[in-house]
Amino acid sequence: MAETEPQVSQLFRGDRMVWVSPVSLEELIQLKTSHPQAPLVMGNTNIGPDIKFKGAWHPIIISPTRVQELFKVTKTPQGVCIGAGCSLSVVKALLEGLVQEIPEEKTEIYRSLLQQLGNLGGQQIRNVATIGGNIVSAYPNSDLNPVFAAGNCILNVASKRGRQEILLNKDFFVGFGKTSLKPDEVVLSVFIPVSRQGEFMRAFRQAPRKENALATVTTGMRVMFTEGSSVVKELSIYYGGVGPCTVSATKTCAAVIGRKWDEQTLSEAYTQLLDEISLSPSHPGGQVEFRRSLTLSLLFKFNLQMLHKLWEMCLDPSITFGLIGLETNMVTFSGCHKNVWFFFQAVVKDQSGDDPVGRPIMHRSAISQATGEAVYCDDIPKMEGELHLVLVTSTRPHAKILDIDISEALQVPGVVDVITSKDIPGKKFRTFTGIDEDILAQNEVSCVGHMVCAVVADTRNQAKRGAAVVKIGYEDLPGPVFTVEEAIEKQSFFLPKRMIEQGNVDEAFDKVDHIYEGAIRLGGQEHFYMETQSMVVVPSGEERELKVYLSCQHPTYESIAETLGIPSNRVSCHVKRVGGAFGGKVTKTSIIACITSVAAWKTGRAVRCVLERGEDMLITGARHPVLGKHKVGFMNNGRIMAADLHYYANSGNTADESLLVIEKILLHLDNAYNVPNLRGRSVACKTNLPSNTAFRGFGVPQSMLVTENMINDVAMMLGCNAEEIREINMYKEVSLTHYKFEFDPKNLLRCWDECKEKSDYDRRRKSIGQFNQQNRWKKRGMATIPIKYGIAFSDGFLNQAASLVHIYKDGSVLVSHGGTEMGQGIHTKMQQVASRELHIPASLIHITETNTSAVPNTCPSAASFGTDANGMAVKDACETLYQRLEPVRKQNPEGTWQIWVNSAFIQKISLSATGYYRGHDLHMDWEKQEGQPYAYYTYGACCSEVEVDCLTGDYRTVRTDIVMDIGRSINPSVDIGQIEGAFIQGLGLYTMEELKFSPSGVLYTRGPSQYKIPAVCDIPLQFNVYLLSGSDNPHAIYSSKGIGEPVLFLGSSVFFAIKDAVAASRVEAGMVGPFTLDSPATPERTCLACNTPFTQKVRRYHQPVSSCSLPQPITLDPNPSMFAKLNMEFSCCFHLTDLQT
């Protein structure tokens, strides 16, 4: 078909744009001459997002995908000439072939390019992004351009004036996204030379995530030695990420050329480099100190590799590798994840083979999810007359609303209406924990992203256009508050504060051997559920009935009914499945659903609201960032006698669930430790940032990090391993917690011991010590962390659930319950429960959705309590039905299920039953500071080992072993899925994920290109999960335990392992004792904390000479994530490319 494609150019003419696809080079040049400003688009990985997110508009787009000249590849003995239209995947395959074909010494540049190509974008991007596009987009962080430039590559360019060759060098890159090319010039190809005798090239990059992330600093370095010596003949160094474009270190190179490559020369080069590559403190993207350190340490890496080369060639006998070692060759980071073990538990000996409980059943809709047939909220077909809703949000952090002018918006074609607070017929606010929160801002906005009004239109694009022209008049209110420090200063809190104390802390401090005070900050975490907030509200047009289809953890018919001022029995909520929630789809979904319902109510038409990723990240909040301070008193033997902890949680502009979060923080601050005198205080700080909400763990991951950090500090003070301190202080026997709840820590200790044993802790601890002695720039660290996590809602009334089970005449069974399926496998487990109780195969049982008409008054699927509660409710209903069938079974003992059901129907026995579970009566009395807030504890322990590259802060988790006590698992494969998933999410929280705000409270990180969640490259190389055997739990269904949230905290084992490795690096710099490392331990924080000679050099450079003599213990920037100076221009940087000249 394609071979016989007629070679005529194509023209697609839209209302606002024209798309031209020429077939010959002449035609392309002609087009470019007449439309010099028209971009060339191939993969659309650059222009596309520009149009979508930055509002760029091009009347003409030229797509030269069919111009054969742009895809030509010519191999010559001098090098290879690659057509500019070749995709990065094609280039990669081509270079891989060349590296195999031609002698190794000729492929230095090719191998450097391959090194960069392996991490640039993802496969999908590389398949369409082109090499020419990458060059001419001239992004400052381009990974390829420094290599092309350092490698003396040449561009072939054509225009009406003819063809010419342009050397890719510092003169080519003239500014942000700008090159020296004229607008009408078209890049035909790029020539990459083979390397010559004595020429070596390397490429390095450091990015927030190893793969598919824009580089922080990236570099190409090429050196050529004079034949038979170590004298430098040519040197070329280019950096990306340290200026508005790819920059050359020309002066540094000039200073080295003509001299011998040795330590003396290089040490001068570092100083020169520091002078030459200067970054202003307001550099777009921030991280100035880190970037500057990287420019030095990457050159040092190059130096190490070149010294090794020279040593191999025996050119300079003076080169020795005493301290340096050959470690640059030990690339232990690379490699696929290796082996994985996980152990399920045995089911009981006499369990019937048909009973699925305790067996690793596949998620019940996994197959339809894998075929794309699974229906998510936005997959519901468009209804007749359906409208789309787009929210208009505040652009001011704190301001009075003067007026909302919607007149222009209403003129936009397709726009039907604009919904403001005035349109809400019922309650205009929602009340959480006694504090009111406007559904739509009425008089005042209190954060950037505060919802003010909503535009409904026939299509989503029309609604977006309408939303863009809604004019809101603001009067800024003074002194917006963003950080917890500011909130403390201004006493901006949501009350009440909470306090809990056992023993007498103040007195105990007088009797201890040592006292240490420290602090740690923990950044927030975006939920990043893959499916953004989605809902469709359909008014039935009769008797004020409303059907609401939504993606949420808590079907919120009652808030919708209150908002509309109608009875709850008119609103039915339907949740088929949720594409990830993690706590972010409880209260936030409820508010947006209320707004959407008002729109449907007012217009009388179905309204759909699906947030875009950027909107979702901006509006719906995240995990609470926390500042934790500790004062700890301990004895010489490591026993902690007293601890005083303060927690300040950044709640954002509304209370939401923050007051419950700070309570849970205090209830978990002991983690696994018995501290006789323990006091905790927590407060929710009211700031002008988007309101934070529940997130898997609900304060516990923040709370326990502070506790474990305190333990770590004690260990560092005493100079021993933190694990020893943990063991000394752990609960040993039946004990009372600080809220006077009695429990038996037997299984906690079993998890701990088993974890140490399975992870071969002692042996590996020794070999890590050895490794760290032998390696200067790579350090390993290890940490073992225990957890004791309380399950169930401490607000006791939420511990209830109901179910409805129907048996149909053909024997099939329909189960409804109040839990929502968000990937955690609750429907699968409910199917297992029903199958056991009814004694029928799971295949006869169906669960279609969570529907509030079937099961009303649902509680949220949260607190790791979904299966506990709903499982019991389903069990109850099934037991009732099974008993009802007892007579028919007795009449016909030989019968089958179908026969019994049929006879029951004929004998007029009801085949439907509701089930109900009245859960634990839990409570917490904050006046008396005691209570029973949890039904039971889930225990676990986790040991992780990491390897840190001290020069760049890069790390890789080498191995993780987790032992969890989850009672008798109902479905071990589903539970292991929760364990692994939560662990990786925790690893993200503590080591990667960083929300960045502007100084005026604008969230920058609004998509996967700016906010990095763990990817395949981040999982531990070896990952073992063990379920503790022989554990029972009388408090939950079939002796199981809740497992949704607890393991997230165990991701902190990676954080503390990094801290352990950093400590080893600091020892080399002569620094011992406690130090601050805030969470997340990003490469930036890790690298700076390692305190290598390069980071020291950069610091000295910024400091007056007098203060440089002593290495100062560092305290990291109080809140770098808040104040990182980012330039909006950079906030939409894509490492994605396309052909654009």
């Binding site: 744009m17 979508k52 797509s63 994985v340 894998a370």
Partner: protein
């Protein structure tokens, strides 16, 4: 616009529809106009891979015909004479499952399932080009796919079964009374790396 269905792929032929929708990305076309909702919208910037589909195009100068792309970025206009294969096109519950779909499900590699179609299509495109990939090829194929639920391990384990060296494949959903799920045998897979 006409939609023909030869086998499992959809062929696009342009027509006057372009005008009203222009500029439109492939994903919008699939979901809105064709009702093919299997391909998911995650971020609209090519960063999460939920919208991955396979494009097939014969280009004389390239050896490879098939490649994975982000549907949220691919402009419809650029797809002249391309075949697009979506997750619906390779298997279905009622029809026959593709092994790529079956194995991710059976290895517990799909929890909330929103990223699953994209991961399936990344793997499918890889196998079309390389029927016996190495583990490193699989990991490379997933560089552009994010999953927030599983932690990736079960996905990789499931797809390890496509690699060259694997001789034995055991579903760990095997039912036994003693040591359930003979997963320990997966340690054999260490040989692969």
């Amino acid at each position: 616009m006409t939609r023909t269905t030869p086998g499992s792929t959809h062929c696009f032929q342009h027509n006057s529809w372009v005008k009203s929708l222009f500029p439109v990305q492939l994903l919008g076309q699939l979901i809105v106009s064709m009702g093919l909702t299997g391909t998911k919208l995650g971020c609209a910037e090519g960063g999460c891979g939920a919208c991955t589909v396979m494009l097939s195009k014969y280009q004389p100068h390239l050896r490879r015909v098939h490649h994975s792309v982000n549907g949220c970025l691919a402009p419809l206009c650029s797809l002249h004479h391309c075949a697009v294969t979506t997750v619906e096109g390779i298997g279905s519950v009622a029809g026959k499952l593709h092994p790529v779909q079956e194995r991710i499900a059976k290895s517990h590699g799909s929890q909330c399932g929103f990223c699953t179609p994209g991961i399936v299509m990344s793997m499918y495109a890889l196998l079309r080009n390389n029927p016996t990939p190495r583990m490193a090829d699989i990991e490379e194929a997933f560089q552009g796919n994010l999953c927030r639920c599983t932690g990736y391990r079960p996905i990789l384990e499931g797809y390890k079964t496509f690699t060259k060296l694997l001789v034995c494949w055991l579903y760990w959903s095997c039912w036994s009374d003693g040591f359930t799920g003979a997963v320990g045998l997966l340690a054999l897979l260490e040989l692969l790396v």
